[in-house]
């Protein structure tokens, strides 16, 4: 997994403010994943629009191939949810329902997460958090964590391969060691990488008492306003639906 929080600043297409991305993410959690206001038709339609938004943003960020694949998957699964789910029963319904759940509700959020990580630099993220007056005690661990996820996953999959070769796997000869022999090496190498990381971050003055400057110019532009209007519209329709103006 390359390109997480290491966006190529020169060549990333449309740039959104990190705060806009967070707003879209929260909207997706509320409406797509949480299913809020799904008894109102307008909100249901709006949720579809917001769910497709991450794919559009991905396309605007010069990743049209991935965007097309995700959009196609979303379209197929949404169609299946609308047309097939009411007709199936029993075990078929469980399996189909689960697939729809994963792709229709979870996937937009995951795509948004992937977009967010691949199009934002850590500096921009910190700048945005700073503007939102989030204290340093939260921003530093959060940015380290996001920076660290891909490393943990990469190390984990390498350790996994090594342990499979030693037959430490489900159904293998040494299955009882399956957890210990994965978590312990993971921890040891994470701690080592972590201390290198913190040395690197400290050289850049992270965690000092002085006010840090930031070279990133973040701010709201036309594209941010367009995206925010769309998400705000969804909340507006939800409220209208709740007080019974629209159905």
């Amino acid at each position: 997994m390359a390109g997480l929080f290491t966006a190529d600043v020169e060549n990333r297409g449309l740039v959104l403010d990190p705060r806009t991305k967070i707003a879209v993410m929260l909207t997706l959690v509320v409406f797509a994943l949480g299913g809020t206001g799904s008894d109102t038709a307008a909100v249901r339609a709006g949720t579809v629009a917001v769910s497709i938004l991450p794919m559009l943003l991905l396309a605007a960020a010069r990743q049209p191939g991935r965007a097309a694949v995700f959009t196609a998957v979303y379209a197929v699964m949404k169609a299946a949810e609308l047309l097939l789910v009411p007709k199936t029963t029993g075990a078929a319904l469980s399996i189909l329902g689960m697939c729809c759940m994963i792709f229709v509700r979870l996937m937009p959020g995951l795509v948004m997460g992937a977009y967010m990580l691949s199009s934002t630099t850590v500096s921009e993220f910190i700048a945005a958090m700073h503007r939102m007056h989030v204290p340093q005690q939260i921003t530093i661990p959060m940015s380290v964590m996001f920076r660290f996820f891909p490393t943990v996953l990469e190390e984990f999959s390498d350790i996994n391969t090594a342990m499979k070769m030693r037959d430490i796997r489900i159904g293998g000869r040494n299955a009882e060691k399956i957890i210990e022999y994965r978590l312990v090496p993971l921890m040891v190498c994470s701690v080592n990488i972590g201390s290198e990381l913190s040395a690197a971050a400290l050289t850049r003055g992270l965690g000092t008492k002085v006010r840090r400057t930031n070279i990133c110019s973040i701010g709201f532009h036309v594209q941010d306003i367009a995206v925010l209007t769309l998400t705000a519209g969804l909340y507006f329709m939800w409220i209208l639906g709740m007080i019974g103006v629209i159905k």
Binding site: V29, E81, G97, V144, L153, L183, L197
Partner: protein
């Protein structure tokens, strides 16, 4: 708290959350859903005990707990985990502080208290069961019935107790592994 401490929080939060995430994937199978409160505290106890050896200042455990709550909010578990993690994190912090940030037995209890937020993921299931399932009709009635049968309301306090007890077990496992591996490697 210095920069290094904050970075340590970030690193261990990442490891912890990867474990939560892998176990949560198992939750799609009904029988594994209640087991979340069992598996996460035990497996998470291993990195958490190592994390505790790094904790020397007030607030580190609390911040990690708040971050877990925020991540739950971002991954669609709604707000109850965050509300609980803010409180349980502070309690865990106080427990470990009472041992001057070095008592090994307090560390085991700390892991138990810290694990309470995991049980909070189930709160909507008990107190807002109807709303919870209305947004999850996709799972199919069979899944819903199975889970409802597995989780009557009296299970609610049981889940919290289970998370706490398993947190203690996880703490002991973590402690044993630290003795076996990490101290030898010089990182504990």
């Amino acid at each position: 708290m210095k920069g290094k401490d904050l970075i340590n929080i970030g690193i261990f939060s990442a490891i912890y959350f990867v474990i939560v995430f892998i176990v949560a994937m198992l939750g799609f199978i009904p029988i594994f859903l209640p087991l979340l409160a069992v598996l996460v505290p035990i497996l998470g106890g291993i990195p958490f005990m190592l994390f505790l050896t790094r904790v020397k200042k007030f607030g580190m455990i609390w911040i990690m707990s708040i971050i877990m709550g925020l991540l739950m909010l971002l991954t669609g578990m709604s707000w109850p985990p965050l509300a609980v993690s803010v409180v349980s994190g502070l309690l865990a912090e106080l427990v470990y502080k009472s041992g001057n940030y070095q008592s090994a037995s307090r560390a085991v209890i700390t892991n138990g208290v810290f694990s309470l937020w995991i049980a909070a993921n189930y709160l909507p299931l008990f107190f807002a069961a109807e709303k919870y399932w209305s947004t999850r009709q996709n799972f199919g009635q069979d899944y819903i019935d199975t889970v409802t049968k597995l989780m009557p309301v009296w299970m609610c306090p049981v889940m919290s107790i289970a998370a706490f007890v398993c947190g203690i077990i996880g703490g002991l496992v973590g402690k044993a592994l630290m003795k076996k591996h990490f101290e030898k490697a010089g990182i504990a």
